[in-house]
Subunit: 238 residues, 2 copies
DNA sequence: AAGGCTGTTCTTGTATACAAGAAAATCGAT
DNA sequence: ATCGATTTTCTTGTATACAAGAACAGCCTT
């Protein structure tokens, strides 16, 4: 656990699966002791995390694990929804036929997902194969580049999904929708895809429920005085 | 010119307007002398540039201004095309009416763009207002967040456009298309928007012409041995 | 002349000492 | 006890010395 890439991955996964709760302090000195590495390379890791939205940097005060930003969640859902409607539409309406190889890989993924449901403590595994399914669709449409791009700004949406999963055991429902979508593509029925994708991604973004049960995970847009750096402090503006 | 944000902006603009050509070396020591600042904060700036694709980092060898990646260009055009079709479609089909204020701002931008055409050496100014027009459309649809997100991965597309501009003086054509698009939205005619957006953004991605005239600006996918770091070197993987 | 070894000199990567800002704790006066 | 100024102690930001890898030049060998 000494390389920068390993540390980055470790912190990323701890933040994503909510072991590190929003608001937790990531101190440079503390982390440098934990990972037995000096502050300089560790700062590189924190910079990367900050750029991907995992942490908020308060200059000369500290780094906090970011609170889940529902605005970002809504925007990412819209982005994915719009793209996947188009992608699945193209795959279905057959200007380019779905190759047999791709079909098989998709079905394999869905089987893995079904297995994951049976396990207990299945959420992380299930989510992994859920992502794999959508990623494969992007890849088959020649849009893997965009999938990777989206993943770089996915912290808030990824954690939001995990909070929702905790409540509803609607894993079966999700899997069923995947099967339905694949069916439409294979039967070359583009007509229903738009509504299916729309419903699949907009898993009721129920802000009220979240604020009731996970208020301390969320970013309630408070006065600017409490917001992280974004201006001309000693920070880099993006 | 001592703050990190200023240096970042300076280098960004020099790379975007091709003063710093692809392949140019950005040495930490050289830059630290140029900007009278130590290597540590300067490395932060380079990290940011690397993350946004402005430079490629070859560990222990150097940092080169990235070559224009036509794959990225095509992906970004598709991304914007798909999003803007939906955005303009929504603005036109009127679930939410375009407010008077927004209409006026858009027309103002188009006037600025017309002024820019008359000036000589107009390209940079023209492009600025061109971006402003599209950005305003995103904002009016409540998608300013996504516009900003896209801008963070826009190096290759931005430079590609500048190379195209050098050849064709099709500034008037672009402006005319803007007027046409705005017209469709105001007249609530959503039918032609898709094809207009498609044509507007896919300004003939003529790879042959570029490779003929600007081969040394482009990233011809060479053998892996010449590619920048992306694996388990001493670098951070994204 | 060609090939390979070796040392020099580039580059970036890391560690650490110090500077500077912000918040908290302390101590004092009222 | 309460309020306020000062000091102390956190935090991150910066500078710099050193480590280590990569490329290059030169030389020697063949």
């Amino acid at each position: 656990m000494t390389s920068k890439a390993a540390i980055l991955g470790q912190l990323r996964s701890e933040i994503l699966n909510l072991e590190l709760k929003p608001g937790s302090i990531l101190s440079e000195t503390a982390l440098s002791e934990r990972f037995r590495i000096s502050r300089t390379p560790l700062r590189d890791v924190l910079k990367q995390l900050a750029h991907e939205g995992y942490i908020d940097v308060y200059p000369k005060r500290g780094n906090l694990v970011s609170y889940i930003d529902l605005e970002s969640v809504e925007q990412m859902i819209y982005l994915r929804s719009t793209l996947e409607k188009d992608i699945l539409g193209n795959l279905a309406s057959g200007s380019a036929a779905l190759p047999l190889r791709g079909t098989l890989e998709l079905k394999e993924i869905l089987e893995k997902q079904e297995e994951a449901i049976r396990e207990e403590q299945a959420h992380e595994t299930f989510l992994h194969w859920d992502d794999a399914f959508h990623k494969k669709l992007f890849a088959l449409a020649g849009r893997g580049y965009l999938w990777d791009l989206i993943q770089q700004s996915n912290v808030h949406y990824a954690r939001y999904r995990r909070l929702h999963m905790l409540k509803k055991e609607k894993l079966e429902a999700i899997l069923a929708e995947h099967r339905l979508l694949l069916d439409c593509v294979l039967r070359r029925d583009a007509s229903r895809i738009a509504e299916l994708v729309e419903h699949h991604l907009h898993e009721d973004i129920n802000a009220a429920y979240l604020q009731e049960n996970f208020a301390d995970y969320l970013n309630m847009s408070k006065p600017d005085s409490l917001k992280p750096a974004s201006g001309a402090e000693e920070n880099i503006e993006s």
